[in-house]
C-alpha cells in the first residue's frame, strides 16, 4: 500500500499516552480493526505477531512529523522497514530511534512482497554491507551514509553536537550581529 501516512501508523487520539506504557498497541490501530474494534483476521500484522521487518509501499510514513509513528513501530518490535521511498521526517525519526528505513527499488519491493506472499520468512540484514537477505535472495538497500553510521554506532546527536560547543558559541555571536531580526525585538527591548 503506497502513501501509508503517519496518521495510519498511529491515529492522533493515542498520542497523549505516556511512552512508558508502550506504543506498540497503537500501531496501525484503525487499519487493523473494523469500526467495532474487532481485528481484521486477514490483516498481515494481525496474523503474524512476531514480525520484525516490514516490506512497505512507496512514500511510507508521509504526512505528520509525529515521532510517535516510529515509537509505535519500535515498541511493536519492528527493527526495519524496507520500501521504495519514505516520508523525509519519518525516515529521520526512524534513524533517531534505531529503526532502519532501507530503500529498495519498486521492482525489488515488489519481489520481496512476492517472496513473502502471505507468510513471514526469516530475514538477515547487514547494515554495513547494505543488504537484506531472505529465501536465498540478497537484495541491496540504499541508506544515507550518515544514517548508516548513526544506526551502527548508536550515536546520540546531542552528545556529538556538544563537542562543537565553542564553534556554536562563536557562530551565534557573529550570527546575531549580522542577521537582522536574529534576536526577537521584544527580547532585545526587554528590561
Amino acid at each position: 500500500m503506497d502513501n501509508l501516512d503517519t496518521d495510519q501508523l498511529i491515529p492522533a487520539r493515542f498520542m497523549s499516552a505516556p511512552r512508558a506504557d508502550g506504543y506498540g498497541r497503537f500501531l496501525m490501530h484503525d487499519l487493523r480493526r473494523d469500526a467495532q474494534g474487532a481485528p481484521h483476521p486477514d490483516f498481515p500484522l494481525n496474523r503474524h505477531e512476531d514480525v520484525c521487518v516490514l516490506v512497505v509501499g512507496r512514500n511510507f510514513g508521509s504526512g505528520s512529523s509525529r515521532e510517535a509513528a516510529v515509537y509505535a513501530l519500535v515498541d511493536a518490535g519492528i527493527r526495519a522497514v524496507v520500501g521504495p521511498s519514505f516520508g523525509d521526517i519519518f525516515a529521520a525519526n526512524a534513524v533517531n530511534n534505531g529503526l532502519l528505513p532501507g530503500r529498495v527499488s519498486e521492482a525489488e519491493a515488489q519481489s520481496l512482497a512476492e517472496i513473502l506472499q502471505d507468510d513471514p520468512q526469516p530475514v538477515d540484514i547487514d547494515l554495513s554491507a547494505g543488504w537484506i537477505s531472505l529465501a536465498g535472495q540478497r537484495i541491496p538497500f540504499q541508506l544515507d551514509e550518515s544514517w548508516r553510521t548513526k544506526l551502527i554506532n548508536g550515536w546520540d546527536d546531542i552528545d556529538l553536537t556538544l563537542q562543537h560547543q565553542s564553534a556554536i558559541a562563536s557562530f551565534r555571536d557573529a550570527h546575531v550581529k549580522s542577521m537582522p531580526g536574529a534576536l526577537p525585538a521584544k527580547q532585545i527591548n526587554a528590561p
Binding site: D5, R58, V70
Partner: protein, 468 residues
C-alpha cells in the same frame, strides 16, 4: 561559493556552522516553536538534566489540544494533562508561552507570522510538518521529529542534509474564486505526493507574486503534502508591508538594515534547480480532493477517475480510496452531498480565509452544520470587528475559539464515522478528522459553497455579483 545561487543556497550558508565529511550540516536555529506535542522532547531533556539552551529563541503555544468550545463543559483529563505539561515545561525553562487565555494564542503557524517572530532569512523549526508555512517569508522553515526537537532545545542547532532545490513557477492570473489552495492542490495532483520528495520548493512567477502573504503561507504550508521538506517565496514589498510593526519584528534602524538585507534574499536569475515545474495560473479551477491522499484531487468540474484507467500502482490505491470515501468512479464530483463543513487550520484559518468564506455565506443559510475555528485569537477578534462571526452564525455555522481543532481532531473536535466533511484543512487521510471520517479538502470559499448547497459545488456562480 561562486556561481549563481538559489534562495536556498543563501539561506543555508547563512546558518551553516559546520559541515561533516558525509555532507550533513550543523545549522543554527533562529526560532524554535513548540506545542503540546513537545512533551517527549522535554522528557528527553529532563532525563539528561539539561536546560533549554536558548529560552529567548524558543516560543511555546497551546494549539493542537486547545479546546475550541470553551466553557462547553469540563476538559477531557488527557487533553488537560497535555496542556498543563506544556505549561510546566515552559515555566521550568523560562520559555514564553502563548497560553489558552492569551489574546495572542493561536495555531503555531498562524501566530509565528502574526507576532513577527517569523522573518525573512531566519531558520525556523517546529515539531510539526506544516512548519513549511513560514517559508512564505523567505525563511528556511521545516518540521522536525521529537528527537530533533530535543536536540534543538538542548543546543539551538540541528543536523540536516541540504535538500535539492526545486522551483514551481505559476505565471498568469488566477480566475475569480480560485486561490492559493487551488494552486497547491493542482501541483500536488499533477506531481503526486512524492513529486517533490525531499526537496525545498521555491514558488515563483507572477501569480505567486500577486498573492498576499496569507496566500503565500497557504501555498508553502501545503508543500509537505507533495513530499517537499520546505517551501519558500523570496521576500518582496508585500512581505515587508506584512511584517512592519508586528510585536517581535525589528524596528527603527534595525528595520532599515533588515529590509536592505531581506531584499537580497532571492535566487539569481541563472540559478539552477534540480527540478523545474511550470503551472499556468489561468488553467487552475477550484479544486477538491476525492480520495484519501492530497494528490487525489481534481477540478470541481471534473468526474471522479476510474481506477481501471489509472497506472498499475495508482489503480489499487484509487479503488481503496473510493471504497473508503463511498464514491463511484465516473460520477461528477460536484453534487456529492456533504454532512458537515469545517473552516480553519494552519492552512486556511487566517483572516482572508474567513473573509473569503463569509463572502459566499453572507445572506445565505447553510444546509449542513459546520464549525468555524479561527487560526488565532487575533484572527478571531479581527473577524468579530468585521462582523464575520455574525455572518457565520446567521448562516447556521458554529463560531468557535482558535486551535488546530477539526483538522487533526486531537482536541475532541471530530467528524463522526462515515460522515463526509468539506474541509479547508490540509490532509484527507483516512481517519484524520476522526475514525472513519471522510474528508474533502478545498478552499474556504469552496467550503462555504458546500455549506450553502449541502454538496460539493463550484463556488464561482455563487460569487457572481458579490464583492470578493
Amino acid at each position: 561559493m561562486s556561481g549563481p545561487r538559489t534562495l536556498l543556497d543563501r539561506l543555508w550558508s547563512a546558518h551553516e556552522i559546520r559541515q561533516r565529511e558525509d555532507g550533513t550540516s550543523l545549522l543554527w536555529v533562529d526560532r524554535h516553536l513548540v506545542h503540546e506535542g513537545s512533551h517527549h522532547a522535554f522528557a528527553k531533556l529532563a532525563a539528561r538534566g539539561m536546560a533549554v539552551a536558548e529560552p529567548g529563541l524558543t516560543f511555546a503555544v497551546v494549539d493542537h489540544y486547545a479546546p475550541t468550545r470553551r466553557g462547553a463543559g469540563p476538559t477531557d483529563p488527557d487533553i488537560g494533562r497535555m496542556i498543563s505539561t506544556l505549561r510546566d515545561n515552559a515555566a521550568r525553562h523560562g520559555v514564553k508561552l502563548f497560553d489558552l487565555d492569551d489574546p495572542e494564542q493561536g495555531i503555531v503557524h498562524v501566530i509565528g507570522p502574526e507576532q513577527g517572530l517569523t522573518l525573512p532569512g531566519l531558520l525556523i523549526n517546529c515539531g510539526d510538518s506544516h512548519t513549511s508555512t513560514h517559508g512564505a517569508f523567505g525563511a528556511l522553515a521545516f518540521g522536525i521529529g521529537a528527537t530533533e526537537v530535543a536536540h534543538v532545545l538542548a543546543s539551538q542547532t540541528i543536523w540536516q542534509r541540504k535538500p535539492a532545490a526545486m522551483r514551481i513557477t505559476v505565471d498568469g492570473v488566477l480566475g475569480p474564486g480560485v486561490s492559493a489552495k487551488d494552486i497547491a492542490l493542482n501541483w500536488i495532483a499533477a506531481l503526486g505526493t512524492g513529486g517533490a520528495q525531499g526537496a525545498a520548493i521555491e514558488y515563483t512567477g507572477s501569480a505567486v507574486r500577486a498573492l498576499s502573504m496569507e496566500g503565500r503561507m497557504t501555498l508553502c504550508n501545503l508543500s509537505i503534502e507533495g513530499g517537499a521538506r520546505m517551501g519558500m517565496v523570496a521576500p518582496d514589498q508585500v512581505t515587508f508591508d506584512y511584517i512592519a510593526g508586528r510585536s517581535y519584528a525589528p524596528r527603527g534602524a534595525t528595520w532599515d538594515h533588515a529590509q536592505a538585507y531581506w531584499s537580497g534574499l532571492r535566487s539569481d536569475t541563472d540559478a539552477e534547480f534540480a527540478k523545474d515545474v511550470s503551472l499556468p495560473a489561468g488553467d487552475i479551477a477550484p479544486t477538491v480532493t476525492w480520495g484519501t491522499s492530497p494528490d487525489q484531487a481534481l477540478p470541481v468540474t471534473a468526474t471522479i477517475p476510474d481506477p481501471d484507467t489509472l497506472q498499475a500502482g495508482g489503480s489499487e490505491a484509487a479503488q481503496q480510496a473510493l471504497d473508503y470515501m463511498g464514491l463511484r468512479a465516473g460520477a461528477a464530483i460536484a453534487g456529492t452531498p456533504v454532512d458537515q463543513v469545517f473552516i480553519g487550520s494552519c492552512t486556511n484559518g487566517r483572516i482572508e480565509d474567513l473573509r473569503a468564506a463569509a463572502a459566499v455565506l453572507a445572506g445565505r443559510r447553510a444546509k449542513v452544520p459546520g464549525l468555524v475555528s479561527p487560526g488565532s485569537a487575533q484572527v478571531k477578534a479581527r473577524a468579530e470587528e468585521e462582523g464575520l462571526d455574525r455572518i457565520f452564525a446567521d448562516a447556521g455555522l458554529e463560531w468557535a475559539a482558535a486551535g488546530c481543532s477539526m483538522c487533526v481532531g486531537m482536541n475532541g473536535d471530530t467528524v463522526a464515522t462515515g460522515k463526509r466533511c468539506a474541509s479547508s484543512t490540509n490532509r484527507n487521510f483516512r481517519g484524520r478528522q476522526g475514525p472513519g471520517a471522510r474528508t474533502h479538502l478545498m478552499s474556504p470559499a469552496m467550503v462555504a459553497a458546500a455549506a450553502v448547497t449541502g454538496a460539493i459545488t463550484d463556488v464561482r456562480p455563487l460569487l457572481r455579483g458579490r464583492a470578493v
